[in-house]
């Protein structure tokens, strides 16, 4: 189709929609925008933008190099803006870093981890990568970008719904 333009958002260029009320409370829709959330976030602060029982979607600003994370279950990361590198290490003893029965990612306070290098992924916009159980992962972005996690609520999950969500009818 001639001249078709698919509008993806970015940190620098997003237009937020919103909830227009007829008879309801806008809070019921838990409406936010991941670029706006990432704009106001610290690098790699994992802010919940969606929550369904224990499951969450976290949005993060990718900027510079993150600390290492690990998790006792699969997670997935989706790049929505910029270019982000994912570094993966197979931990020798993941249970030293995360309770195997636990849920959600944990942040590791060390820079060098005992394990084997699994690989490196460079994610562009729209790319999704697996963050497999038992791996440690960290990110690097030369320029600010936005990534999204499909995971479970855990100790790294930041919840500040009242400050990110729409509370009044547009």
């Amino acid at each position: 189709m001639e001249g078709v333009v698919t509008q993806f958002g970015s940190l620098k260029d997003y237009r937020k929609g919103g909830v227009e009320i007829i008879e309801d409370d806008p809070r019921n829709y838990v409406f936010s925008n991941v670029f706006e959330v990432a704009e106001g976030a610290e690098p790699y602060e994992r802010i919940a933008v969606g929550k369904n029982f224990e499951y969450v979607i976290e949005a993060a600003r990718a900027e510079g190099t993150s600390s290492w994370f690990t998790c006792a279950h699969d997670e997935f990361v989706l790049c929505l803006d910029g270019r982000t590198e994912v570094h993966l290490i197979k931990l020798d003893r993941p249970e030293d870093y995360v309770d195997p029965e636990s849920e959600g990612a944990v942040r590791i306070g060390e820079d060098t981890l005992p394990g084997r290098k699994m690989g490196r992924i460079s994610l562009g916009r729209g790319h999704m990568a697996a963050l497999p159980t038992g791996a440690a992962y960290r990110f690097h972005a030369d320029q600010p970008g936005v990534i999204l996690f499909q995971t479970i609520e855990g100790e790294v999950t930041v919840q500040k719904w009242a400050s990110i969500c729409q509370t009044e009818s547009v």
Partner: protein, 342 residues
Amino acid sequence: MAMSEASERENANPASTASTDTEVLPICNETGYRAFRAGGFVLRRDEYFARISWPGGTHVIPVDAFLRAAMRDVSWGFFYGVVNFDGVFGTINHYGEVTLFAGAFNDAYRNARRDYQQRFRSDALMGLLKDLLGDWTNQDFDPFAAPMETGQPWGRKNGNNDAAIDRRRVAARRMVGLPGDAPLRTDEAGFPVNRQFADVAQDVPDVEVEPGFENEVSAFNLFAYLSRSDVTWNPSVCSVVGDSLFCPTSEEFVLPIEHGNDRCEWFLQLSDEISWDVKDKETGKPRARVLARAGDICCMPADIRHQGYSTKRSMLLVWENGSPRIPEMIANGTAPVVPVTF
């Protein structure tokens, strides 16, 4: 707006004692279409309309809308909750059994006690609806397609389009593109880039894998994958964390049903924009209108019905919780109406 693998499995419930009284009726000489009966409901189509009757009532739905709705209901295995074909007719999923209703979510029908419903074994009703779709869909019409991509459904019986209606919905077990999991979409596999996503980059992530980690280190271009979707308003599972299902889909024109939620359902708008009409689930009264643009994320509460409008074909990530304990919670009234309070 997607279904879980679990609910698909539950569609076959051999212990169910619900009705299996369905029947394929003879071909109408005038139109060439068959009629179909499920208990007291009889469904007929003519050149323009699906005509539904039940003891005490009748209803008419333009057949384009009816076929688009029926296609989703079948493709989703009756789906979560309520599938309103329109303000009167639809199905309620009980996970193994399914209710066919007229007026059950319409104040006027209920207050006048003119609503009617019957419960069936899911596999029995599913078989009937698949036969109906096969018979009522003419060769030029694709009920999964956007109006600018398909011919018209009107007129007398004129061929079939089994290729369109038998498309298999792909569900990833872990993530699309992982070895042995749901495959990527390519030209060769019959998934060209849709005209409305001609500008979407088809680059692939740069993946360096150390030997032995080929099943673990994996990435794919989700946007490119979605740009090659050949259907609209038909979420399919792309990545799975326990019961957390990412079910992205490409949307163009109007969601063919009013989906009556039985649980919270999240929408992350990946590209372009969709307007959502939100009405009360029980009464159908308008409650809100949601405009979602790229990057917007929001939840549809469990007590509403919603219908979306997308002019430019857009990418929508539907996020579902397919936990088998949720139907129980819905049944005993402990499932939350909103996912977060603040």
